[in-house]
Subunit: 285 residues, 2 copies
C-alpha cells in the first residue's frame, strides 16, 4: 500500500474561506444572492451554492432594490462598486483583506509618483480590480505575467512601483523585480503575494521531488492551481492536475510507493478527502 | 596578424578622471597634497602623482594648517570630513558625484524608516564612506557582497531600503534585490550602480565570447577590474587580468585571431595603449 502525503497548506485560503462562508450564509439567511462571476474556480462549490440560490450575475442583468450582491474575494474595480451602490442593492463585500491591501498600495504608489507594474495575469478578476484602483487614483501602469512580456513592455521611467497579484508565483516575482530594479533608478516594491500562496508553493517544492507521483487538485481555470502544478511538474514529471476524484487514472500509480497531494486555494476540504480515498482504493487494488 | 578590439568603455570613468585631474592640478599648482589612500588602484598613476608630491596620508600622520588633503572619488565618512575640517587643512573634495548620490539616498532611506542593505564590498573605501553616512543619519544596515552572505544575513524587517556601491556587478544586484523583495513586505531600491560600470560590463559580455583571447587591464586590487575579469572569464576561459604590458605572455596568443581588450575604471589610457602595442608586437612575431 502506498504512502499518501497531503500538503498541510493544501486547499482553501483565508480569503476564499471568508467568501464561501459569506455566500453560504447569504443563501441560508437571505434566501440567495448574486455573485459577480463564479465565487471560486471550483465547479462543485459553485453548484452547491446554486442550490442555495447563490447565482452568478448575468451580463446586462437588471438589479433591483432588495437584491443582494456578494463581491468575491478577488475584489472589483471602484467603478463596479459604485454601480452596485447606485442600483441600491445590498452589498456583501467579501473582498480578501490581502487584495484590499494591494488596492491601497497601488493608490499609495500613484500618490508618491510611481509608474506601476502589476505582476499578474491580464484579465484575471483580481487584476481587473487592481487596475480599476490604479485608474481611479489617476495612475499609469502595466500588467506583466512573464519575463518575456516584461522585457518587451519594460517602461523607461525613473520611478517604478511594483505590486503583485496575491496568488502570483514567487519565482517570477523575484526575477521580475530584479530585472525592473536593474533597469530603473528608483523602485518601490510591495510584495503582496499572500503567505498562503507562497506557503503552498514552498510546500510543493519540498514534497514533489520526494514522491513518485504528485497530484494537484483544483479548477482547470484556477491560476494559482495551474502555477502549483507547473512548479510540481518542473520538479517531478509525474505530476497530474485534476479537478476531482473520478479523473484519477490507475496507471499513474503503478509501482508508486509515495504519493504527494496538494490543492489550490479554491479547493474545498471534502474534494481533497475524496481524492485521497480514491487514491487509497486504486493503490490497494 | 591578429585583430585587436578595444572596448569603447575601457578605462577611466568620469569620477576617476575628475579625481586624477584634481590631484595633478594640486601637484602642479599647490606644490603637492595628501590623499586618504591611493587615489586609484593603479600603481603607475600613484607613482606619477608621487613625483608631483601628491602622497598618501600615513596612519596617525599629523596634519597642519596649510596642508592640502584631496578626498578621493570613493568619498569618506562624514566623521573623517569633520576631522579634516577641524585640522584646518585645505580640502579638495573629489568625491565622485555618483558616490555622493549614494550618500544622499542612504540618508533618505533612513529618514523614511528603512533598514538599509548596501550591495557592496565590506571594507571598500566607498562602502566605508556610505556606512559613515548611514550611521550619521541614525540608521541601521548591513553590507553584502554575494548571495550566500545575503541569505545568511537576511534581516527580518518590514521595510528594507537598498543601495549599491557604484561599481557593483549588475548581475549580483539583480539577484540580490529579487531575493530581498521576495522576503520583505516593502522594499525601496535605488539602483546606484553607475552607468560607466554597467556599460563596461555589458560591453565585456558582448566582446568576450566573440574573441579568442580577452585581456582585462587594471589593478589586481581593483574591485571593478576583478569583476570585469570574472564576467569575461565566465564567457571566455582565455581571459587574463594584467596590470601592465610586461605581464603579457606570448603563449596566450598562439593561433589567436581575434583579441579583445578592456580595462577597469582606474586604468589610464596610456597603459591601455601600451598593452595594445605590446599585443601587436607579440602577434606579429
Amino acid at each position: 500500500m502506498a504512502n499518501i502525503k497531503v500538503a498541510e497548506s493544501a486547499g482553501f485560503c483565508f480569503g476564499v474561506k471568508i467568501a464561501v462562508d459569506a455566500a453560504v450564509e447569504a443563501g441560508e439567511k437571505l434566501g440567495g444572492a448574486y455573485t459577480d462571476g463564479p465565487i471560486i474556480h471550483n465547479k462543485q462549490v459553485v453548484q452547491f451554492l446554486e442550490s442555495l440560490n447563490v447565482k452568478q450575475l448575468q451580463p446586462n442583468q437588471e438589479l433591483k432594490e432588495g437584491d443582494t450582491v456578494l463581491i468575491r474575494s478577488h475584489g472589483v474595480p471602484p467603478k463596479e462598486e459604485r454601480r452596485l451602490q447606485e442600483a441600491g442593492v445590498k452589498i456583501i463585500d467579501a473582498t480578501c483583506p490581502f487584495v484590499k491591501k494591494v488596492h491601497e498600495k497601488v493608490r499609495q504608489l500613484v500618490e508618491e509618483g510611481y509608474y506601476v507594474i502589476i505582476i499578474g495575469e491580464e484579465g484575471h478578476p483580481e487584476v481587473i480590480g487592481i487596475l480599476g484602483h490604479l485608474e481611479e487614483a489617476g495612475g499609469k501602469g502595466i500588467v506583466v505575467s512573464n519575463m518575456e512580456e516584461l522585457i518587451k513592455k519594460m517602461p523607461k521611467r525613473n520611478k517604478i512601483g511594483v505590486v503583485a497579484q496575491t496568488t502570483q508565483s514567487e519565482d517570477f516575482f523575484r526575477e521580475a523585480v530584479g530585472y525592473i530594479a536593474e533597469n530603473t533608478e528608483e523602485v518601490k516594491i510591495f510584495n503582496t503575494i499572500c503567505d498562503a500562496t507562497s506557503l503552498r508553493q514552498e510546500e510543493v517544492k519540498k514534497l514533489a521531488p520526494s514522491v513518485d507521483v504528485m497530484i494537484i487538485i483544483g479548477g482547470k481555470h484556477s491560476g494559482n492551481t495551474k502555477r502549483l502544478a507547473q512548479i510540481s511538474k518542473a520538479l517531478n514529471p509525474n505530476t497530474y492536475h485534476i479537478e476531482k476524484a473520478d479523473e484519477l487514472n490507475p496507471d499513474w500509480f503503478k509501482n508508486a510507493e509515495n504519493i504527494g497531494v496538494s490543492a489550490g486555494a479554491s479547493t474545498p476540504d471534502w474534494i481533497i478527502k475524496e481524492v485521497v480515498e480514491k487514491i487509497k482504493e486504486l493503490t490497494n487494488s
